[in-house]
């Protein structure tokens, strides 16, 4: 499997704070990679650095052989990256339809993807004309992911998809994300280790702004010492 995304030793500052001090991540195609680590370790900043929202000061980011460094966020998105932030960023005044429509990169994107989206998230069909601000947390999360599916993205960056959701909704969300690997690679930030371990094929552990460990999920599950050391509080 070839890597869709290669993040090589990036350093990112926010204001004067050195948030990422050397993060390396590789995301193979059609698979799910989870960024693990404690709160404040730099997982969200890693995703934002890839999207160009907090551009790294040093290091390389390559997407399908193209360097993302120095590109604007809209330019990076247009290459085929979909971003689902942890706060979901649903446009409250826009209807569900408009929230999806705005993600079109070419006219007709939504028409082509609508059935697929309804199939994965059936709730969105009956909520189609509702303002985004009136959806529940779980529905907003579905919409946020669905929005990333409207254009032909081949890499999805999903931040904390299970946060604040009821267990039964999390199950559905996991099934949906698993289906996405048919068309795209997924880089996931997930605080809930049970969810991450069931969902991801590979993992990268980030600690204090550095990627300290990576490998396949079965390997991680087989080494309790590693889990204890880096993820115990999570």
């Amino acid at each position: 499997m070839s890597a869709v995304l290669t993040v090589q030793d990036i350093h990112t500052f926010i204001g004067q704070f050195h948030i990422l001090e050397g993060v390396t991540v590789e995301v193979p195609d059609h698979s799910i990679t989870a960024l693990l680590g404690r709160n404040g370790a730099g997982k969200t900043t890693t995703l934002r650095s890839i999207m160009g929202l907090n551009p790294p000061a040093r290091g390389q980011i390559q997407y399908r052989g193209q360097a993302l460094n120095g590109r604007k966020p809209y330019d990076i998105a247009q290459l085929g990256l979909g971003y689902v932030p942890d706060y979901r960023a649903i446009f409250r005044q826009l209807t569900v339809e408009e929230n999806l429509k705005i993600a079109e990169r070419r006219p007709g994107d939504l028409d082509r993807k609508r059935q697929f989206i309804f199939e994965i998230f059936p709730d969105l069909e009956k909520l189609y004309q509702w303002p985004g601000g009136q959806l529940s947390g779980g529905q907003q999360q579905m919409l946020a992911i669905a929005r990333a599916l409207v254009p032909d993205n081949s890499l999805l960056l999903i931040d904390e998809p299970s946060e604040g959701l009821a267990p039964v909704i999390i199950e559905g969300m996991m099934a949906a994300i698993r289906r996405l690997t048919a068309q795209a690679a997924v880089l996931l930030v997930e605080q809930n280790f049970r969810v991450a371990s069931q969902l991801a094929d590979r993992y990268v552990i980030i600690e204090d702004g550095r990627s300290v460990h990576s490998g396949t999920m079965p390997d991680l599950l087989a080494s309790p010492a590693l889990i204890q050391k880096y993820l115990s509080a999570a």
Partner: protein
């Protein structure tokens, strides 16, 4: 299942506004004779439309870019001067209607281009610095006023002639009213509707409404927000400039002519609820009608128009006491 909450708040604000207009009408009928009532109402509408033409762009820009463009009044003036220049530059044989139309379009184009230039050249470096924005927009306003004074002199230009068809008066309920002012009402109403359709029905409108909430996310979806900012800013200044030229046949063109309108426009935006377009549209009419009523009362009983300006300030204070976020504002 139907979405209800937000719609209800919106409807509530509309009903309150409707009741307010009704109240004004009752006051009018109680105080004036019917012919005066008709003229006051029409006059309120036409004033409101002029306020709207300045305030519309300001409120959308404020919502999207978080910038209060205090130079918007200067674009109103710029539109009038640009219109005059075009009107005068056309060859002698040109029919007055063609001159007038060219002046209107030219004013809008000039305002739009100047606005785009301002956004790219002056505003862009200051997006992270709100205080600098105030100083810059206010300074630009003064600079434009002084520039016009230097080129055309302090006296201003004599109003241009409007097309003969609009230069008439007509009688409504026994009161005399100028046809040209109805033309302003029509232009204002058309733009009110046009901008509303743009916001609700087009892709640009969806992007604007989304950008008001979270422009970073809009960007992360692959949209060049910077370009949208420039476009929206330019559209706003184009509408203001068109407003200035629309007013030119009775206001003329003079340095600082936009400043009075700017102050009222800010009041309108505050009453409407800062970044709400609907709020701005409704509030401009309410302010226009309030001002016209107060002006007439003031003239009739105290022989001075002094109450006109006072009334809209009191109106703003009253609205803010009851709803601190303005009529259509959100928490």
């Amino acid at each position: 299942m139907r979405p209800t909450l937000r719609v209800n708040v919106f409807r509530q604000s509309l009903i309150v506004s409707g009741l307010f207009v009704l109240g004004l009408l009752v006051v009018n009928l109680a105080v004036f004779k019917p012919s005066t009532v008709a003229v006051v109402m029409l006059s309120g509408l036409y004033q409101g439309m002029l306020f709207f033409l300045i305030a519309a762009g300001m409120s959308i820009v404020f919502g999207l870019l978080d910038v209060l463009n205090l130079a918007q009044g200067a674009f109103f003036m710029l539109g009038a001067y640009a219109g005059f220049a075009i009107y005068g530059a056309l060859p002698a044989g040109t029919p007055i209607e063609a001159r007038f139309l060219a002046a209107l379009l030219g004013a809008a184009v000039t305002g739009g281009l100047a606005g785009a230039l301002m956004e790219v050249g002056l505003l862009r470096p200051l997006y992270a610095r709100p205080v600098y924005q105030i100083v810059m927009t206010l300074g630009l306003s003064t600079a434009l006023n002084e520039m016009v004074r230097a080129i055309y002199g302090p006296a201003g230009l004599v109003p241009i002639e409007e097309p003969p068809a609009l230069a008439t008066t007509f009688t409504v309920l026994g009161g005399q009213f100028e046809t040209y002012r109805v033309f302003i009402i029509v232009v204002g109403a058309a733009l009110m509707l046009g901008i509303s359709l743009l916001l609700q029905r087009t892709r640009l409108g969806i992007i604007i409404r989304a950008g008001v909430q979270d422009s970073e996310m809009v960007q992360a979806l692959g949209i060049n927000v910077r370009r949208i900012f420039t476009l929206v800013f330019a559209l706003g200044t184009a509408v203001a400039a068109l407003g200035g030229m629309t007013a030119a046949p009775f206001l003329g063109a003079y340095p600082g002519m936009g400043t009075d309108f700017l102050l009222v426009a800010i009041i309108v935006i505050v009453i409407g609820g800062m970044s709400s377009y609907e709020g701005t549209a409704v509030a401009s009419l309410l302010v226009g009608l309030t001002r016209a009523t107060a002006e007439q009362i003031s003239l009739q009983y105290f022989n001075t128009p002094i109450l006109a300006s006072v009334s809209i300030l009191l109106f703003m204070v009253a609205v803010l006491l009851v709803r601190p976020t303005g009529l259509f504002g959100r928490e």
